[in-house]
Structures are given as structure tokens and as C-alpha cells.
Subunit: 559 residues, 2 copies
């Protein structure tokens, strides 16, 4: 998962991909990159069509199939989980093989497959081939799909997208799994306690190394599951279709095209999609993730004087772009997070009673939140309110200002042109265009109020839509049962606050249910120094992925 | 004059110089550098003592000596200018010598005496020695006062401060002139049309070269005046005391100490001070400058989370420092420049009728202003209002934010700590401490309103006091007469919007009247590429400086 606090490459990629398609929709009066207008929810359960309200599955279930919900404790839509005959020996085999699984991860971590560093591109390619060899050695088939030159950096070949297959039984369910074999940059000198490309295991079972949790561990989890089944003499209960890319940490260049191109080819048989590339909310309890917020990113540029001015010489005689910009930026949001753009709240799908019931069971405390914030600066007082704010309500952040003085010390400048950056995290039913329309109207009204002689432009930098999946699908029931089987606990049902665009692409292009089933925990420090994966998460996670295949095969049984 | 849009070194130097003296006044609860509390107005005419109001000289003159003002057309306090017998032959000699004066400037420009570049330091020293040799060749005496190591950059020796003297007749008035022989950086590659260190004269008589107008031309003007007197066989009517520094463009390091140390020594006989280091308001009409605004520079830092956060993951659950800061910064000033800090307007000395009369004669148009702003973004509708806003009313500028996203493109960050920078240009009677007190109160009140869990600190970065001189002094009358004699026009009476700290230092340390008598015009592009001095300004300016010496000798006649 791409969690980097930084220039998020993925939404941009998405925007670029849509640029051609939507070029004709540009209006000359506004610098508006194209928006993604495809619906992102399975029509079977949700509707996000303009004019129709978002209707959560549970609400409709409540009307139509109340008998399937035991005691409103959604999402545990099964009365009891099925005992799967083969799982015990599978689990035993995973335990037996754990050292060789760790060796497999060690080998993978040793390949510094950093996709954003030119010099490491051969290592990314090497990692793709290593992974292909591993799959072939297990009896799978692999195509390394070449994606051509990297757009904008034509001296670089994109690393291949690995399309793999294990099993081809038409009677079995086909599960498409996605992951990535590239990693974030890492240097010992960044502050790592150990060499980032040497898997180092401490006495608490923490396996440190770049890519351990993001996303080599989870990817290898699928391979481990195949191997443990083989060694235990158990047939894999599903056919696995694999899609492992090598550019996730660098904008997933080429991925959307590949998914689109292969939707009716390599991926045509896929019945469900499972992605293991995010994290538990805490460290103890697994979760299933059924949604992510979208992001509409805007800028406002205000210009007046021809060049930066000396505030001594011109202070008081010129309309100052900073003064105008600060006033407009101040009009967006209150210090308590309340968004002040008129009409925006009306776009948000109302919270249903059944939805309310999702939050109390989640293993999360205000203390967890404050720890992750690094201070007592939380807006909400209760866990439930905080989780809702993070997962299912919009937020607006002011990111910064380009063109103003930003260095240390004092500079007596009147900046001639300043560009304010802000974004809105969106949730159902906030359609990209509807949000932009309200924001633009608000900005124009605020600027008009200023009576300023400066010039103002409102710009859409990039927009990525929210994704919410139908958690009432057998895909989720299967995953929930697998969690309960392996960890003896019902999973948390979460949404991510940040974006994971591949979920939306799979949903849009394949029209199949997409599940996020993470292996790592909240403390894994993906993208940071000392990234790690706990041995427990890796080994029990391998059990979980295998168990999920059994349950999903059973839930979606074809005969 | 230091007009650079940049990190202004001079006010900082001033602050540093006062740091030791005021160290005991620090309060631990607030990061407050010491302020300059010395009064900066000649007591004879003005009072800026706390508790007493600023009383412009003209107001008092109006009461006590109305007969001296012909028709309220201050500052022309003389009924007619005196015909000086020797000036015609002096002027003639200046015209005769103009080519050699230009050669003198060419030699000076050829020495790249950039004080802010380590590698050019020997050239600065060379320039000081060249200047000393020039003065000695004219029969003057020179001391090159060594100032020791550069504070904070101890591998560098400061360039010497040139203390010179020409004439020692106890019956003559002693005029202290100040200038600087160092220059701003310049590279052809910055966009210069000609080599910056080769004086290049075009067919319009524009003499391009770094330092031509700032400040080598004016400094050489004094030397030219001496030489023309000698060649014309006319005795210089005053004794000249010279103070030429080599660090003006790099914080005037060492200058305040030198002035302080020499006040009762080298400078002890000085009767008046004349500084030629600023510019006419336009291109046609000379001006006398009798004031500059002060500058109180503040920052507000707001911190909350321990580190920058991802706006997707944490947007909506954390108090965001940017939201708080933007709200506070928005509370300072309206887009029309009106300062919203309560009580600040009450500190400003009321405009008197006589003062009103100063502005209409000034050669300045709204078109001039819009040209210099580079756009129709002026706040005022009339020249008079604009000039008052620039010269004698305070202004507040928002300079920027440190710690927020300031790059191109989009970054989905919630900055953990942001520092907002703003400053107030101050005018009589805004005492530094009184202003700070009101600003701090305002900031604290605004932050309290936010109900934020973030932490806020208010900081004073540096403060420099305004300076206003008594324009009713014979020093000004002499300069006005000289202008009328050379240019056949009464000078504009101006104040500078930006600070020129050396004026205040001379005023404070010597207790003598200080006059700014510029040579260059508003189009000279000091500090910019293609800096130039018009031949007319250089040659007629040389006449002006010489004529001024005659009139000031006459106005202040000792016998």
C-alpha cells in the first residue's frame, strides 16, 4: 500500500490515464484535469449513480433478508463458521515450513527492488524474474508482461507485470490476487538500525528489512500457501490468478492499462479479487478493509504584482496576493475540522443504524490514536467518532502555499504570486464533479467578497474517487471465517482513510468483488526506516491466506 | 541603500548588536529579541518619548513662526535661494571633467567588491584601498579602520571602514558624509545585457554596471566635487568627514560599533550628516528624504502532531496546525490593507494639515505606481493617498509559512509544525514594544478562540525602529536650495517605506541632523540585473553634492 506522506503518485497516474479520454471535456476557462466518472461500486449492492442515493448493503439486507443477520452484529453474516477438514494439516505444515518461508522472505528482501531509483531498475526486474522462478518452481505458470518505456522517462524500461496462474480446474473458483514486488527507497544512513536489505530478526520476532511488510511478505504468503498445501498433500481448493506489479511505489505506471487490457483475457475467469497490501488497525486484531476515501486535490493561485515586492517599499499600496489567499483558505474549514463549503455535507451518505454498529467492536482506542498522532491533538472524544471521521466522513486539509516565503528566518517579501494547496477526502456519495462544483462556487464567492484587484484561478490538480465494496459478498464472509479460524477472533471491518487506487480499477474493469485482506500490523513502518513484519503476522498470515482460499472456494462453490 | 527583496541583513545586525545589551530583559515565556528603544528623533523638534505625542516640526512652526512659511508650501523655508558666487565656475568645471569622472566610476565598477561572497572579499578590501588612494591623491587623509573577523564567519576578515577627512579648518562647518564601496552580487548569466563589472554606456547615457548607482557613483560624487573645486581654484566651503563602509550589502557588520566608537573621536566635530544612498521617487525630480518606516517582524509557530501526517489516514481526526495558523493570519489584515489589530491605529501620529500639504507637490503619478507594481493592483485611487500609505502609515504583510508544503504539484500532507511569518512597517509614534504588546495580545486572543489542542508560540524575529528627521533644519534647507540651484526645481520631500538603519545610528550616536540626498533615479535597478546610473544623474548629482556643501556651509555659518 502506498501510504507515503509525499507526492502521491497513484492518483496522478490515474489522472494521466484519464487525460486522453477526457481531453475533450476540458473547459478553457478553468484548468481542470479530467475526473474519473466511472462508478466504483458493484451495482449489485450499491448505487452511486447521480440522482440515486448510496444505499449500503446492510440497510437493504435489513429489509429483505433480516433472517441472515444473527443479531445485527454485521458483518458476521454466518451463524457459525464451517469446519474445514484440511486446514489443520495445512496449518501444521505452515508451522513446519516456517524457517524456509522466512528464508524465502530473506532472499526477496536481499534484492533492492526500488522502483523509484533509476539505478535500481535492474534490481526491480531481477526481483520480477526471481518471483517468476519461485512460482514456476511450485508448478505455476507465469507471463512477465513487458510494459514498454516509462512515460516521461523514456530511457527506462518499466519492470514487467507478473501474470501468474496456479491451477486450472474449471470446477474451482478463480481467485485473483494482487501484490507488488517493488519497494520504497532505503539507505542505512536514513537511520536504519540494521542493513535494510538484510532481513534481521530480533528476539521479539520482528523481521526488519525493506519490503518485509510492503509488500514482499504478503506476496510470498500466497506462494507459501501453495507450498504448504503441496507438502501437506492437500489440493489447493481454488485456482489462483496472480497479478504482481513492480511499480506500485512509483505510481503503478502501466498497471491500469494492463488490468484494462487483461480484463477479458488473463483475468477473464476471476470470480473475486483479494489484495494483501494494507495493515491492521492495531497489532492484535486482523481486519477486512471494504473501502477507501477518495481525494479531490485543488489549488488556488492568486497573482497581482509583476514580481515579488519589498514590503517596506510597497507595503500598504498594493493588493497583496498572500492576504487574499489566506482569507480564502481560512474560509474552508474550522479548527475542529468542520468543512464550511456550503452543500458539501448534503452529499455525504447518511449514517445508518446498522452502519453505526460496525464501529464499537473495532479494536482501537483513543490512546492508540493519540499515540499515532504523537500528541493529544485528536478532535473527537470517543473511538467511534474518531473512526467515523477517519473512515466514512470527508475531511479538508490545507497543505501549504507555493510561491510565498518558506525558508527559515525573516524575509520582508510581498510574494507576487502564491498558490494555495488543499484537498478534500471524499466518501460516498460525493461524486468528484459535484464536489468540485461546490468548491469552485465557494472559492469564486469568497474571492468576489475581497474586492481585490489581484487575479485568481481555481485549479483541480487531481481527483481520485472513493471506493466502497459490498462487504456482504461471500468474498468477505470467507475472509471473516478465515480470520476467526486462524486468530479465533472476528475481524475488524475497516475503511482506509487514504487511497488505494488499484481497488477501484479492479472493481471497475472486472466488475468483481474486491477484498483487502492485510497481513501486517499498524506498527510495521512501511515506507519508513526500520520497516518490519512480525514473524507471527507472516506465519499466521500465511495460514490466513490459505484458509481464506478454502473458505472462498466453499462460499462460492460452483457445483 | 539596501532595497533587496530578501533576507534583510541590516535589521538583523541591529538586533544582534542589541542582543548583548538587552540579554537580561529576555522573558523565558516568549522568544523576544531585544528591541531598540532609543529615541530616534532630534529632541529639538520632535518628541517620541512614551507618553508624549509626536509633534511634527511644521505644526509647531505653524504656531510659533508662521512668518517663515511663505504659503504653507513647506519645506521651502527660504523665501528665495541665495546666489552662491562660486557655483557657476564649479559647475563649469564639473562639466569639463565629466569624462574623467566617468573614468573614475569605470575603475571603481571594475573592482567586483561583492561583500556577501567569500571569494570576493579580497576585491572588497582592494576597493577600500583604491578609494583610500583616490582620497589621498586629492589631498585628503584616510584611516582604514580594521574591524576584525566577521561574526559567525571567523575565517573572514571584515573589509575596513574608511574614515577620511578633507579639510580641517575650525572656522568651517564639518559635514559627515556616508556611503559604501561594496556591491550586490552580479553575474552575466543572471541576465545582464553587458558584463556587470565593465561600465557600459548606451546612447541614452545610461551607464550600466554593478555598483554604478549603489553606491559607487554617489561615493565618487563627493570625490568629484573635491576635484572640481580644486581644478576650478575654489576652496571647499566645508570640512568633509567621510565614512565609507564595505559591508553595507552584507548586514553592515561592524558599522554600528564603529559609529559608536568614533562618535566622540573621529566624528566628534561633525555638525550635520549627509547620506547619498537612496533614490529619487521618479526619474526627473530630485528628492530629500527625511524618514523611513520601521519594521517589527514576527512569527507564530503552531505545532500539534509529532510528525507530518498523511491527510488520507489522519484527515478529520487531528487538529491541524495549518488550519489554526491560517485562521490567525487571516485576522491581521483586510485585503484593502486595513490592519485589524486593535489599538494599533491609535499609536499612529495624526496627520496634520501642514503635513497634508507635503504630498501634492511630489512628482509621482498613479501610473508610476502601477508601473512599478507591474499591474493595476494599487489599493489607493489617488497619488496622495498612495504616497501616504507608503511613507507615513503602517502596513502589515503576510510573508509566508515555514514547515508547510511549498513545492510544485500536490502533496497530501498535514504539516506537523508550521511557522507563519508577518511584519508590520511602523511609523511615528509606534514604539516597538507598544506594537509588540498589541500584536501579542491579538494573537493570544485569536488562538484562544480556536479551541485548538495544538500549541502556539508567538515570536519576535527582529524589530527596527522608524526614523524621522527634522526637515526644518538648515541641513535640509541647504539641500533644497542646492537642488533648486542645480535642477531649477524644488525637491520632493519623501520618506522611504523600507528601512535604512544607518540613519538612525548616526542620529542616535551623534545627535546631529541626518539628511538623505540621493543621486540615482527610481529606474536604476539597484540590486537587480542591469543596474545603471544615468550620466545626467552622475554629473548633475556631482554638482548637487558640491552645491549642497556650499549652502550647508552658508546656512550653518560658524561666524
Amino acid at each position: 500500500m502506498s501510504r507515503l506522506v509525499g507526492q502521491l503518485p497513484m492518483p496522478l497516474t490515474r489522472t494521466f490515464l484519464h487525460r486522453e479520454a477526457c481531453a475533450r471535456a476540458f473547459t478553457p476557462s478553468r484548468s481542470t484535469p479530467p475526473r474519473i466518472s466511472a462508478h466504483c461500486i458493484s451495482r449489485k449492492f450499491f448505487s452511486s449513480s447521480p440522482g440515486r442515493r448510496f444505499t449500503p448493503a446492510l440497510q437493504r439486507l435489513d429489509k429483505h433478508t433480516p433472517d441472515r443477520i444473527p443479531n445485527a452484529e454485521w458483518p458476521y453474516l454466518y451463524h457459525k463458521y464451517t469446519k474445514m477438514a484440511n486446514l489443520d494439516s495445512y496449518f501444521q505444515q505452515v508451522d513446519t515450513l516456517q524457517d524456509s518461508f522466512i528464508d524465502r522472505l530473506r532472499e526477496a528482501v536481499a534484492i533492492p527492488s526500488i522502483s523509484s531509483e533509476d539505478a535500481r531498475r535492474p534490481d526491480v526486474v531481477k526481483m520480477g524474474h526471481w518471483l517468476a522462478d519461485q512460482i514456476k518452481a511450485l508448478g505455476g505458470t507465469v507471463e512477465l508482461r513487458e510494459l514498454g518505456k516509462q512515460p516521461g522517462r523514456e530511457h527506462l524500461d518499466l519492470p514487467p507485470c507478473l501474470l501468474g496462474r496456479y491451477g486450472n480446474d474449471p470446477k474451482k473458483v478463480n481467485v485473483l490476487v494482487y501484490g507488488h514486488y517493488d519497494v520504497q527507497p532505503a539507505n542505512k544512513s536514513d537511520g536504519w538500525a540494521t542493513d535494510p536489505f538484510t532481513l534481521s530478526i530480533d528476539d521479539k520476532g520482528r523481521m526488519f528489512g525493506r519490503g518485509s511488510t510492503d509488500d514482499k511478505g504478503p506476496v510470498l504468503g500466497w506462494l507459501n500457501a501453495i507450498e504448504a498445501h503441496q507438502k501437506a498433500g492437500i489440493e489447493l481448493p481454488v485456482n489462483l490468478i496472480m497479478c504482481f506489479e513492480g511499480m506500485e511505489e512509483n505510481g503503478s505506471e502501466g498497471l491500469d492499462d494492463t488490468i484494462r487490457a487483461e480484463a477479458k483475457k488473463f483475468f477473464k475467469d476471476a470470480d473475486v479479487v483479494c489484495i494483501s497490501d494494507n495493515y491492521w488497525l492495531g497489532t492484535e486484531k486482523p481486519c477486512l478493509t471494504y473501502g477507501v476515501r477518495g481525494c479531490n486535490y485543488y489549488s488556488i493561485d492568486i497573482a497581482g504584482p509583476a514580481a515579488d515586492l519589498h514590503s517596506g517599499v510597497y507595503g500598504g499600496v498594493s493588493h497583496e496576493p498572500m492576504t487574499d489567499l489566506i482569507r480564502i483558505m481560512d474560509s474552508f474549514v474550522n479548527p475542529d475540522g468542520k468543512i464550511l463549503i456550503e452543500g458539501l455535507d448534503k452529499l455525504v451518505a447518511p449514517m445508518t443504524e446498522q452502519e453505526e454498529a460496525l464501529y464499537p467492536p473495532i479494536a482501537f482506542t483513543m490512546n492508540d490514536l493519540e499515540q499515532s498522532l504523537g500528541g493529544k491533538v485528536s478532535i473527537q472524544d470517543t473511538k467511534e467518532e474518531a473512526l467515523k471521521a477517519k473512515m466514512r466522513y470527508p475531511s479538508l486539509s490545507l497543505h501549504g502555499i507555493e510561491g510565498a516565503f518558506h525558508g527559515e528566518g525573516a524575509k520582508t517579501v510581498i510574494p507576487a504570486k502564491v498558490i494555495g494547496k488543499f484537498s478534500i477526502r471524499t466518501v460516498p456519495n460525493m461524486e468528484i464533479d459535484a464536489v468540485t462544483e461546490l468548491v469552485e462556487k465557494h472559492v469564486n464567492e469568497q474571492f468576489a467578497k475581497l474586492n481585490s484587484k489581484n487575479r485568481m484561478n481555481f485549479n483541480v490538480l487531481h481527483c481520485g474517487k472513493w471506493w466502497v465494496e459490498d462487504f456482504n459478498h461471500p468474498n468477505y464472509t470467507a475472509a471473516a471465517k478465515a480470520v476467526e479460524r486462524v486468530f479465533n477472533v472476528k475481524p475488524d471491518m475497516t475503511r482506509e482513510g487514504g487511497s488505494i487506487p488499484v481497488t477501484l480499477t479492479f472493481q471497475e474493469e472486472l466488475g468483481k468483488n474486491v477484498l483487502l485482506l492485510p497481513m501486517g500490523s499498524s506498527t510495521d513502518a512501511a515506507h519508513s526506516i526500520n520497516e518490519k513484519l512480525d514473524k507471527r503476522n507472516y506465519i499466521e498470515g500465511t495460514k490466513l491466506l490459505g484458509a481464506y482460499l478454502h473458505y472462498v472456494g466453499s462460499e462460492l462453490k460452483k457445483e
